[in-house]
């Protein structure tokens, strides 16, 4: 097909627009990463010199270390529990018809649109009402509810892409439902389960607003520690930590894309 000069210009314009949008998305990450190597205690642009000292300070700051430990505990528990709950619920909701199915689906997906401060406030009040302190259990419970929609989505997408004939073949050859589930269905779902778990883990580790409500000094996760730091200090330690965050997250997503197919997990791409 031949394009007129007007269309050609339009196409170039659109491409430039997309590049500009990518620039807008990347700008803060790039700027904060540059600021992380600043040699001065206050942020200035352009930077006056180069130093690693803020990385050193960020990595040895006790609240951050504690935040990483707490965050890791909460993340591992919450995303694993959410994976088990979410896989079961996704199977039932996608394949079976039962009473309360629509209600269950709506309830499990609703944390996507309920503001996180409301979720956090709710769990805080609930804990107070049943006389529970602000323990890890509370934080984990809150995170499970918040990351479950993402697991549900990821597992549902994989279920839809699964070739049902393989299960039928196994069943017709005499495998019990239990055997079909554990030797056919779950292994075939593995990439979707891994993707769902990874998303849940990253989101839990980074969840902030609800965590601010439900964590105490002893259980505060990394984002809460970072928020408290930003409120008190202005040195580039936070920039250094942000740079590490950005690098690790980007790396995880590139790997997830390579091995699990990010587009398919997110449902923005189809086919096998």
């Amino acid at each position: 097909m031949t394009l007129g000069p007007g269309l050609r210009a339009l196409q170039v314009g659109l491409r430039l627009l997309v590049l500009a949008i990518i620039g807008f998305i990347l700008l803060p990450s790039v700027v904060v990463s540059i600021a992380a190597f600043s040699d001065r205690a206050i942020l200035t642009f352009p930077p006056t010199g180069f130093s690693w000292r803020w990385f050193e300070k960020a990595l040895t700051y006790e609240d951050f270390q504690q935040g990483v430990r707490n965050g890791a505990i909460v993340m591992l528990l919450a995303s694993s529990i959410a994976l088990v709950i979410g896989t079961g619920a996704a199977m039932a909701i996608d394949r079976y018809r039962f009473r309360g199915r629509a209600l269950l689906q709506a309830m499990l997906l609703s944390p996507l649109v309920v503001p996180h401060f409301t979720v956090g406030l709710g769990f805080l009040i609930l804990a107070a009402q049943i006389g529970m302190a602000r323990t890890y259990t509370l934080v984990v419970a809150c995170h499970v509810v918040l990351v479950l929609p993402f697991v549900l989505r990821s597992v549902t997408v994989s279920l839809r892409n699964l070739d049902g004939r393989l299960e039928q073949a196994a069943a017709s050859l005499g495998a019990s439902p239990r055997r079909v589930l554990f030797t056919v269905t779950l292994p075939l779902l593995a990439p979707g389960l891994a993707g769902g778990w990874l998303f849940a883990a990253i989101l839990s580790f980074n969840e902030f607003t609800a965590s601010l409500f439900v964590t105490a000094q002893r259980t505060q996760t990394l984002p809460v520690a970072m928020y408290n730091y930003v409120r008190e200090y202005a040195d580039p330690s936070m920039a250094a930590l942000s740079a590490i965050y950005i690098a690790v997250t980007a790396l995880l997503l590139v790997l997830a894309n390579r091995f699990l197919g990010l587009g398919r997990i997110l449902g923005v791409e189809h086919g096998r």
Partner: protein, 282 residues
């Protein structure tokens, strides 16, 4: 259908989880109608006072400002998200597609604090933008972006954009390419086939994305708190202040409930819009 193996095993944990969440929401609802006893964490009896208190100009203004910021953010993330989602779905090379995808979704997984702090280094008085403009000699003194509604809105669009892109790309990838090809073969140019085929068919995605962006922005806390610095407040900031500075949890709960009702109303309206569209389609 017939057999439903393991139904109970599959559903029970999810149902318990849903129940826990419902209990937490019920707790908020219940607190919203209780009286606040100053200086105490205990709550008093039933009252409408919390909702009446919300009509005071201070709180009404914050509500209006929040809704305005949410609408603005949803609109601009749609404007920026659509070209990106379109490019993502229509990318010809896999490498370019992967780059677009990773760039578009990475911010979603960074969390609000890191992203907001990064904007601080961009927008601050000695930040990137002001540094660059001063260095170029375009301005004499720093432009104030921090603590302004513009700065907050800019960072909010950045926070909301990935979700918008994912929802739009999901909708766009579901559109059968044959419709676009048919439009082409019938003589429509790319612009016309976009405006009369692709855009109308992606309308459900646009509505869903806008609704989610609205709700997502309503949920934002760190961005207005850090970039707004107490001068640009959203409902989330008030709820936190009321809870943790004044220990007035009943009032915080009532603000949350009204916020939730507002979000539900916006999502409901958009849902009605989507249903209308689907009826036109059949």
């Amino acid at each position: 259908m017939g057999k439903r193996p393991f139904l109970g095993w599959f559903v029970t944990p999810g149902a318990l989880c849903a129940l826990g969440f419902a209990a937490a929401m019920a707790a908020v609802l219940q607190y919203a109608f209780r009286a606040h006893i100053p200086g105490s964490l205990e709550v008093g009896g039933f009252t409408w006072a919390n909702f009446e208190g919300m009509l005071r100009p201070l709180y009404a203004t914050v509500f209006l400002q929040t809704v305005w910021l949410c609408a603005l953010t949803a609109f601009f993330s749609l404007l920026l998200g659509y070209p990106l989602a379109h490019a993502l779905v229509h990318a010809r090379s896999t490498a370019w597609k992967s780059v677009l995808l990773v760039v578009a979704v990475t911010p979603l997984f960074l969390g609000e604090v890191v992203r907001t702090y990064s904007w601080l280094t961009v927008l601050g008085n000695s930040g990137f933008v002001n540094g660059a403009l001063l260095w170029l000699g375009l301005i004499d003194g720093p432009i104030q972006f921090m603590f302004t509604r513009f700065g907050v809105a800019l960072a909010l669009v950045h926070v909301t954009l990935p979700v918008m892109v994912i929802m739009l790309a999901a909708a766009l990838s579901h559109i059968d390419r044959d419709y676009e090809r048919a439009a082409h073969s019938l003589g429509a140019g790319p612009v016309r086939s976009f405006l009369t085929v692709t855009l109308p068919l992606s309308m459900p995605g646009i509505l869903a994305g806008t609704g989610t962006a609205f709700a997502w922005t309503f949920s934002a806390f760190a961005t207005p708190q850090i970039i707004g610095g107490g001068r640009v407040n959203m409902v989330s900031n008030l709820v936190y202040q009321l809870g943790f500075s004044s220990f007035n949890f009943p009032f915080a709960a009532s603000l949350s409930i009204v916020g939730l009702a507002l979000t539900a109303a916006v999502l409901g309206l958009l849902r009605i819009g989507t249903m209308r569209l689907e009826r036109v389609g059949t």
